[in-house]
Symmetry: C3
Subunit: 404 residues, 3 copies
C-alpha cells in the first residue's frame, strides 16, 4: 500500500498514545485498533475455614482485542479473554452503521439490558458486579438494532438472541426459541443549559422469551455474592425428576439510572427476573429481584463518567502530578422468590436473601492504569442448617489494571 | 529501529486498506500482517421437534491471526479460532521458501487433499462444507514439501503427517504411524492464449497410511449433513468389544476440478476413503464415497475466483456502487459402505446415504464483508427404525462475515 | 493522534526488523510490541511398543503476545499459548518500574526460581527442560518485587504467590496459604576488567510455604523424563484414603550458575524440593533432588548468551553467510526420596531415579529462526515389575522455531 504508489495516495496513519495503538488508512476507511485489558486481583476473606472460597491471587481478565473498520462501513470487534474460567470469546461481532441513528450488530456481544454490565469493565466501580447483574444476561449471540437519536438524548437497542440463564452467556441455543431483549436510555437534559443536569441518564430495559432447559443445560442460574461465593443454587440430580430446569416463560425488567457531574457519580439499578421452572412434575413461576445503589467521588485529578475516570495528568511526581484518586460506596441486595423453597432449592444450603455494603478506593496512575482496594460485606438470610443464616462474607479485593 | 539512525536506513512501511493491515521493514525482509475473520450465523430448520439440532444464532469463526516473514526467508502463520467447538490453533506453521518451486512447511496446517477444504474459508460458496470434505482430512500436524512449477501450470504438495480421522484434525499421533498425503493440481491452459481456458484447474489428491484407534480415540469419523446434524456414527460402547476403532490401512483418493471465468465458477470434487475397522473380533475394510458439484455466478460487481469474489467497488450508493452479488447452487452426496451395517453401525440410527441440494446468495459489501443466505435440503436413505429413512433436513443459514 | 495536530507533535514511531514489530509514541511513553513464538516438533523414540509415548509431530508452542508500556511507567505483557495441553495464559502481568533497582510485578508470570525455567524458551538449549525444572515452580500468580543493583552485578526477586505443585503452574490457590519465593543472582565480575570472567553468574533461589491438596487437586507433581514420558506418579484413588495429597510444609532450594564467554556456554542447576505428603492416616516429609549440567559451543556465526545465540548474519549463501551453528550436551538426573515407596508411590510403576545424557545441534538461520536436532537417553532405576528397571528411553527430537 505504501510503495511507489500511483501518484499521491496519502500514507497510512499510525497512532500510539493514551487512546491506544492503531493503524488506519489516510481516509480512515480502514482502521485497526490493538487493545488489551489485564486485571490481576488479590482476594482475601475475613472469615475462617467454614467459607467456600480461598484467599487467592487471581488473573481476573486477560483480553487482547482487535477492533476496527473495513471499507468505511463495517465495524468489527474480536475481544477474547483467556483468564481461567472466562469465556474465550467476549465480543465477536460485526456492525453495520449506515447512520448514527441506526446500526445493525451481529455476533456475540453484551446484551442490551444491565446498566452495570454495559459499562466498560475498565470503568467498573467495584472489582465485581453488584447483585442485579446476576439477574440480567451477560453476553448474548444474536442480532441487535440500535441507534442514538437527537445527539444521544435518546438511545435505543433491541435484538433477538439465543437467550441465556440469568447472569450467564450461552453460545448456543438449547431450545428453538429466541429471546427478545431491549433497552431505552435517555439523557433528557443533555441539550439543557443547566450544566448540572446534563449528566443524568434514565433507562428501562427488559427481555421476554421462553426457555426450556435440559438435564445437561438446565438454563438456571447460580447466584454469587460479590466475593464470588455461591449462595443460591437450584436443586440438581442425576435425573430430570430431581433437577430444576427452565420450563417456559422468562422475562426480566430493569429500570436504571445514573448521574455524573464533575467529580460525582451515582448509579442505581433494579432488576427483576421471572422464570417458569420445573422439577419432575412440579412447576412454578418464580420471580427474583435485586437492586443496587452506588456513589463515587473523585477526590482529585479527574472527572467522573460512565465510561470511567480519565485523569487530567498521568502520574509524574516531579511535576506535582499524582494521577487521580476516587472513592466509592455501594449498597446492593437480592431477594429470591420464597416459592423457590423447599421444592426447587434447599433452604439449608441456599440463602433467600443477600444484602451487601462495600467501599472502594481507586488510584488512577494514568488513563491506562489503576489500582483498586475494596471491601465488601454481604449478609445472608437463610442458607444454613436448622433455619440458620449463611455466615456473613467479608471480602477484601485488590486489583491492578492496565488497559490500552 | 527508527530513532536517529546511523545515516540513511529507510523507514519501515505501514499498510492499511482493503488488503489488510501490516508493518514491514523497508526492504520487506521483515513483515507482520494482522488479520482476522469473523463469521456470525443464524441457523434455522424447517422441520419440527424430531430433528437433532436447534434453531440458533452462532458465532461460527473467530480467527485473529498473525502472519508474516522474518529475515526474508522464513514465513510464519499463527491463526487461532476461539469460536465454540473450534480447535484453538487453526494454522500454526513455519515455512521456508528458498524458491517458488520448493517450499518446506512445518507445523499444523490444512492437509493437501480436499479442494473445498483448501479454499480460503472466507471464499466458501456455502456456509458449511459439502459432503466430500467430511471424508478428507482437515488440518494435520507434520511436514510438507510443495511448490509451483512453470508459473502455477503445475503445483504439487506432499507431506508426512500424524494422520487424522476423516474430516478431522488431530493434534497428536495416536499410533506410531505417519500418514503420507499429497496433491497434484494443474492449470493446463494457464499459459494458453485462449482466455476462456485459463481458469481451468484439475487435480488429484490422496493419502495413504495406517491408523490404529483406541477406546478413547477411535480415529473414526462422525458424518454430518450440511445442516451440521449427525447422520452416521460408528458403534461405540464402554469396551473395545463394543466399540469400532480404526485398525489398519487407511487411504483416500480425491479427483477434483474447478473452472473460473469472468463471473462464472464451477467446482467438482469426489472423495473416497477406505479404512480397516475393527469391533471386538470382527474386522472389515470399508469404503465410503462422496461427491459434490457446485456452480456460481456473479450477477454484478465482481469476478469469480477460487480465492473468492473481489468486488470492483465497495458499497457506496451515493456513487452508484452496490458491491457485488453472487448466486450459487450445489449438489452433494455421500454413500456409506453397505458392509458397515449392522456390525459396525446401527442401521436404525445411521443413514447409509445422504444427498443434498442447496442454493445460496452472497452480497459483497466490499472485499472485506459479505452477507450470505443459503438453503440446503438433505435427504437420507436409512437411519430410522424399521428400515425407514431419517427425516429430510431443510436448513436455512444466514451468515455475516468480516475479514481483513 | 496524527491528524492535523495542535502544532508540532512528533509522529509515532514504527519498527519492523530483527528485534520485532512495534508501535510507539515519539516520546516512547506508549509502546506496543507484537510478538510471537512458534515451535513445531517431531518426536521419535528408539524403543518398541512397550513405551508410553508415540512417535508424533507436535505443535509445541503457539504464543502470540502483546507487550508494551503505557504512560511511561507501567509495563504490561499478555502472552498466550494455544498449543495443545498448554496453559492459555503464559504471562499476564503488569509491572511498575519507578527505578531499575525496584520493580513491582503483579499477575501471572515465571516464578523467580529455576535457572532454566527463567531462560527465554526461544533460547533453551534442549527442546525440553532438564530434570531440575520439574522440581521448581513454573508460572505463579501473585506479586513480585525485583531489581537490578549496581548494573546487574546483583539482581534480586522476591514474591508472594498462590503456590504450585513442583513443575506446575496453578491459576488459583487451593488452600489459603501463600508461598514465598525468591532468588538472588550475581554477576560478581561484571565490572571486572578480566573479560573472561564477566559472563559468570551465580545464584541461589528458594521457596517456602505450606500446601494442602484435595482429592481433586492433590498439589502433587507428576515427573517426566525429557522425552515427556511419565516415570513417577504418586498413588491416586477415588478416596482421600487412597490418594496422596500435599499436606503441610513445602520448601525448595536451588543453587545455580552459568558462564557465557564468546562461543562457550555452561549452565549448572541443582534443585531440591521437600514436601509433607499424606495418604489416609500416613504422613511423611519427602525430599526429591535433581541436577543438570550443560555445555554449548557456537561453532561459527554467533556468540553464546543466556538470552540465546544472536547470529552475526542471517542466512544468505550468495554472500557467504550461513547463519550460526551451535552444539551442546547435557547431563541431568533426578532422585526420588526412597521413603516415597511403597506407601506413596508404586515401585513397580514409578522409578526412583532417572539419569539422562543428551546431545543437541542448532542451526540459526537468523536471530528469528532456528532448527534443532537432539537426542536424549534417559535410564531409570526401578519402576518395573519385580524390582526391575523401567526401560531406558531414547528420544530424538527435531524442532523448527520461529520467533519475533
Amino acid at each position: 500500500q505504501q510503495e511507489p504508489a500511483p501518484a499521491a495516495t496519502p500514507p497510512p496513519l499510525l497512532s500510539a498514545g493514551p487512546e491506544g495503538f492503531s493503524l488506519s488508512s489516510a481516509d480512515k476507511q480502514y482502521q485497526l485498533k490493538l487493545r488489551g485489558i489485564l486485571q490481576s486481583d488479590a482476594r482475601f476473606f475475613a472469615q475462617g475455614k467454614e467459607r467456600a472460597g480461598n484467599n487467592t491471587f487471581l488473573l481476573r481478565r486477560f483480553q487482547p482485542t482487535f477492533e476496527g473498520t473495513v471499507a468505511g462501513l463495517v465495524d468489527f470487534r474480536l475481544q477474547m479473554d483467556l483468564a481461567p474460567n472466562a469465556q474465550p470469546v467476549q465480543d465477536g461481532y460485526v456492525e453495520l452503521h449506515p447512520v448514527r441513528e441506526f446500526r445493525v450488530r451481529v455476533g456475540k456481544f453484551k446484551a442490551p439490558v444491565g446498566l452495570e454490565r454495559l459499562q466498560p469493565v475498565t470503568a467498573m466501580l467495584f472489582p465485581e458486579f453488584a447483585l442485579p447483574t446476576s439477574l440480567v444476561p451477560n453476553r448474548e449471540v444474536g442480532i441487535q438494532f440500535s441507534g442514538d437519536l437527537s445527539g444521544s438524548v435518546l438511545s435505543y437497542a433491541v435484538g433477538a438472541f439465543n437467550g441465556s440463564p440469568d447472569g450467564g452467556a450461552a453460545d448456543l441455543n438449547v431450545d428453538d426459541n429466541v429471546e427478545l431483549e431491549g433497552r431505552l436510555f435517555a439523557h433528557p437534559f443533555r441539550k439543557s443549559t443547566v450544566e448540572a443536569l446534563k449528566g443524568l441518564g434514565l433507562g428501562l430495559a427488559g427481555t421476554v422469551g421462553s426457555e426450556y432447559g435440559t438435564l445437561g443445560a438446565t438454563q438456571e442460574p447460580t447466584l454469587r455474592a460479590e466475593g464470588q461465593q455461591t449462595f443460591f443454587t437450584y436443586l440438581t440430580g442425576t435425573t430430570l425428576d430431581a433437577t430444576v430446569v427452565a420450563s417456559g416463560r422468562h422475562y426480566r425488567l430493569s429500570p436504571q439510572a445514573y448521574y455524573f457531574h464533575g467529580p460525582l457519580g451515582v448509579m442505581a439499578e433494579y432488576a427483576t427476573s421471572t422464570q417458569d421452572v420445573r422439577r419432575g412434575s412440579d412447576e412454578a413461576r418464580l420471580t427474583h429481584g435485586a437492586w443496587q445503589l452506588s456513589a463515587s467521588y473523585v477526590l482529585f485529578g479527574g472527572k467522573a463518567s460512565y465510561e470511567g475516570v480519565k485523569p487530567f495528568h498521568s502520574l509524574l511526581p516531579s511535576e506535582g502530578h499524582w494521577g487521580a484518586v476516587e472513592l466509592g460506596a455501594r449498597y446492593s441486595g437480592l431477594r429470591v422468590d420464597p416459592k423457590a423453597f423447599p421444592l426447587y432449592a434447599d433452604p439449608s444450603r441456599s440463602a433467600n436473601e443477600a444484602q451487601s455494603w462495600g467501599a472502594v478506593a481507586h488510584w488512577y496512575l494514568s488513563g491506562n492504569a489503576r489500582l483498586t482496594f475494596s471491601v465488601e460485606r454481604t449478609a445472608f438470610s437463610g442458607g444454613a442448617a436448622d433455619g440458620g443464616d449463611r455466615p456473613t462474607e467479608i471480602a477484601f479485593f485488590n486489583r491492578v489494571q492496565a488497559s490500552f
